[in-house]
């Protein structure tokens, strides 16, 4: 029998049992759609996070207590501003060193208020992190040295507190202490549902007083020489280890952060895909089951076909193609649904979803393979049927 003929016979058989074919396909459709959708979400999340980290620049070093690793708990920071000065000496340029001591706090202006992240920082932050001011000015060295109560607002905070007025020059109340707004950042937008403009920067000295601490959470360094960034990190860590014996420090680069995040998100995507894959497997078992039923139902047809000259292979191929057609149509439908779902998720929710060609190819390949794997046994059974017995079947 010619292959084109076999495809036609398989399609006819599916059409003859429309409802059953559809229900059988549904298992594959759901499986493939969820694989495509979940992989798209995993990939989208990974891409967004990576873009964000890459936005920091490849010559950024983050110095934190403890170790940057999957599964290690964040350590309490013993770092102080003296350590920051020491790091500045190691780097050779204090302007390349930034710090943060952050806490959530309620910021008020008049009868409006906003709960936001208040970060104590040095005047170096815009240089180190490449942040742009929309209006007004940023903190100065003297603001930091004197612990002056001035604040630079994120765009969202400015909008909430001063919806119809210019924020710069106004007073805000941060955790009960009055600060003067001297600038507003240019908006960064949202990522992963997090508003990146929801922050307030104040001098680190003012923040330490506000929170009653001498510590800073972390130090960031923009390395002068990108090629020797690892060596610089090592020198900073050595310096800090000397100043705080018994505490471990890490100087991590963007590359390392990407590596760790990539691992985490890769595992996440893998787990999601595996869960979806299970439903695809279940769909495949459904296909196998229906094909066995189909072979039994059409035993007489098989007998007749053999009587008029069908070889075992002709019959086997016919049933195998039927299974493959079933899962392929299911697979294509599932792909369409998965892509549609991913676009919908990306459009209406903060969850990013990026459909990748490899996930589509994989999903289609797997569904066709499911058809072959789960169709082989029923097809072989059909091909091997004894025509005499088959013709006599009820």
């Amino acid at each position: 029998m010619r292959l084109a003929e076999a495809w036609r016979v398989a399609a006819d058989a599916l059409r003859a049992n429309r409802m059953r074919s559809l229900l059988t396909m549904l298992g594959v459709i759901i499986g493939v759609a969820s694989v495509v959708l979940l992989v798209a979400i995993g990939t989208g999340t990974k891409q967004t996070v990576e873009q964000q980290v890459e936005g920091l620049g490849s010559n950024l070093l983050l110095v934190v207590p403890g170790r940057l690793d999957v599964g290690s708990a964040p350590a309490v920071s013993p770092l102080t501003l003296q350590d920051v000065d020491a790091v500045g000496r190691v780097v050779g340029d204090p302007a390349r060193v930034a710090v943060t001591v952050a806490s959530g706090a309620t910021v008020r202006a008049g009868n409006r208020q906003d709960f936001t992240t208040v970060q104590g920082v040095l005047e170096t932050t815009p240089t180190v992190f490449a942040r742009d001011l929309g209006r007004g000015r940023y903190l100065t060295r003297s603001d930091v040295d004197t612990g002056r109560r001035v604040a630079v607002l994120g765009d969202s905070v400015a909008r909430v507190l001063f919806p119809d007025r210019e924020a710069v020059g106004q007073q805000v109340n941060v955790a009960g202490v009055r600060f003067r707004v001297i600038g507003v950042f240019t908006p960064l937008g949202q990522s992963l549902g997090v508003d990146r403009d929801d922050e307030v920067h104040i001098p680190v000295t003012a923040a330490q007083r506000l929170y009653g601490t001498q510590r800073v959470d972390a130090i960031a360094v923009r390395a002068p020489d990108r090629d020797r960034i690892d060596e610089l990190g090592q020198r900073i860590v050595t310096e800090l280890n000397g100043r705080h014996p018994g505490t471990e420090f890490s100087a991590v680069t963007q590359e390392q952060i990407l590596g760790v995040l990539g691992d985490i998100l890769g595992i996440l995507t893998g787990v999601l895909a595996a869960i979806a894959g299970i439903s695809l497997l279940v769909g495949g078992v459904g296909v196998s089951n229906i094909m066995l039923v189909s072979v039994r139902e059409r035993t007489r047809e098989i007998g007749l076909r053999k009587a008029v000259g069908a070889r075992p292979r002709d019959i086997g191929v016919q049933f195998l193609l039927e299974a493959v057609l079933l899962t392929s149509i299911g697979g294509l439908t599932g792909m369409a649904l998965g892509v549609g779902g991913a676009l919908l998720v990306a459009a209406v929710s903060p969850i990013p979803a990026a459909v990748t060609w490899w996930s589509l190819a994989l999903a289609f390949g797997v569904s066709a393979a499911v058809g072959i794997i789960f169709g082989v046994v029923p097809a072989q059974r059909a091909g091997r049927l004894d025509p005499v017995v088959a013709l006599r079947a009820e």
């Binding site: 007489r300 053999k306 008029v308 000259g309």
Partner: protein, 279 residues
Amino acid sequence: MSPAIEAVDVSRTYQLDGVSVPALRGVSLTVAAGDYVALIGPSGSGKSTLMHLLGGLDRPTGGRLVIGGREVGALSAPELARLRNETIGFVFQAFHLLPRTTAVDNVALPLVYRGVGARQRRERAAAMLGRVGLGHRLDHRPNQLSGGEQQRVAIARALVTDPTVLLADEPTGNLDSTTGAAVLELLERLNAESGVALVMVTHDAEVAARARRRITMRDGIVVADTAQDPLTGSAGSDEPGMGGLGTARAGGLGTARAGGLGTAGASGPGVAGAGGGGS
């Protein structure tokens, strides 16, 4: 002329739960081209098993079976399938048409496995349906056809490949007597026209009486293999017209039988088997 089918001491034993059950115990016979044979016998006599063997649906467990010049025992399953496709046409009691498939597609089915292209298949199937008087029913599905029409479609399907032997298993068993008679008449006409050997399993004595040769089976062996005078055979028939047809073929029968037996005689056991069956 070599016989269409030659069976020499053919046996077929089934294994049921480890017990050997002999269904055929040494059958020898020859079906010549253009033969018209009625195969009769009580149920369990082995005539269905013999039919399956003669049609290449099954292989003997002993003896030698040659269909269309090929030794069945030596053929693989695909080769046997091809042999069926090329030399045998089957007509079943229950028609065995594919449901949801038009008459013309049902008839064309054997050509599908012969690799004939779609257009030529349809042409040949339509022509064959015309020969069985269903030229106006090409695109009807089995459930839109009467029992007699369905069996005609099945006959057309059996003959579309131009086989040398037409095996009919109780072809009139599911039909009322009038329709059955018409179907039988059609089979006889096709046998006469195209020279296809007709081997028919039947319970019906009247049907059996119309054949030119009658093979009677019992307990897995042939107990009688007799040429019957078509004139006598047709004397009992309700339709005198058939007598005429039968008579017309009498000469052809004689030649074919003689040739068939002659060949079998040359190989020895064929004649002995046939003779043994008769004694």
